[in-house]
Amino acid sequence: MIKVLFFAELEEIVGSRELTIEKAELTVNEVKEYLKDKFPALPVDRAMIAVNEEYVDDTDVVKTNDIVALVPPVSGG
């Protein structure tokens, strides 16, 4: 089970701050493909991906209990 978090504009598009993917292991890229399928309007490729609060590469692997976050371009400060 992999948890995925959405913030800001992405949260509004998904309609929820989080969802769960019932898989034990996926690459980051597979998570992104899953989300693009499920939410065609979601600008997945304009987001950075964090796993357990660190930015990762598309080829990195996500395991059960990991927390994935889609981080759209930030605008703090």
Binding site: L5, F7, A8, E9, E11, E12, V28, N29, K32, P43, D45, R46, A47, M48, I49, A50, E53, Y55, V56, D57, D58, D60, A69, V71, P72, P73, V74, S75, G76, G77
Partner: protein, 156 residues
């Protein structure tokens, strides 16, 4: 108040409290950067803002910026507080305080901090105008992240 050097809060930020965290006998200079809510951006009039954050990760990334600064300026002390929630015109969104023995470094390290905040810290601003609202950060769609993470040698 919180003793945390790197803090996301939904309360009003006290500049003094952030500065107090970096006061030190060997600091001769403290630079602070205070980000406030500006009314006009070009021709658009902001009514208020809302900030959202991935709080736990944002505090971790602020701490990372503190580490990066101490690598570059070993005598620097850094504290950063960013507010989230609704902010009105002139409200303080962020306070960065950097102390160093000598003044030039305090300016350079403070500037480094705000630029890095705008690159890696998961905080988002929603502008509310009279005629609409928008999450900021990608207005020009100039920031795709095809590799899934930010580019640049100094990112980690």
């Amino acid at each position: 108040m919180s003793e945390k050097l790197f803090l996301i809060t939904d309360e009003v930020i006290s500049i003094q409290e952030v500065v107090d965290k970096v006061v030190h006998p060997n600091a001769g200079a403290i630079n602070t950067f205070i980000g406030t809510v500006r009314e006009m951006t070009k021709d658009k009039k902001t009514i208020y803002l809302k900030y959202d954050a991935y709080i736990s990760m944002a505090e971790k990334k602020l701490a990372q910026i503190g580490d990066e600064i101490q690598e570059r300026w070993p005598d620097a002390l850094v504290a950063i507080t960013h507010r989230i929630g609704r902010l009105d015109i002139t409200d303080i969104a962020v306070v960065i305080a950097v102390s160093t023995p000598h003044r030039a470094d305090s300016y350079d390290a403070s500037r480094y901090a705000i630029e890095r905040i705008k690159e890696i810290v998961p905080i988002w601003k929603k502008e509310h105008w009279e005629d609409g609202e928008k999450w900021m950060g990608d207005q020009l769609e100039k920031t795709p992240y095809p590799t899934g993470k930010p580019e640049g040698e100094h990112l980690s």
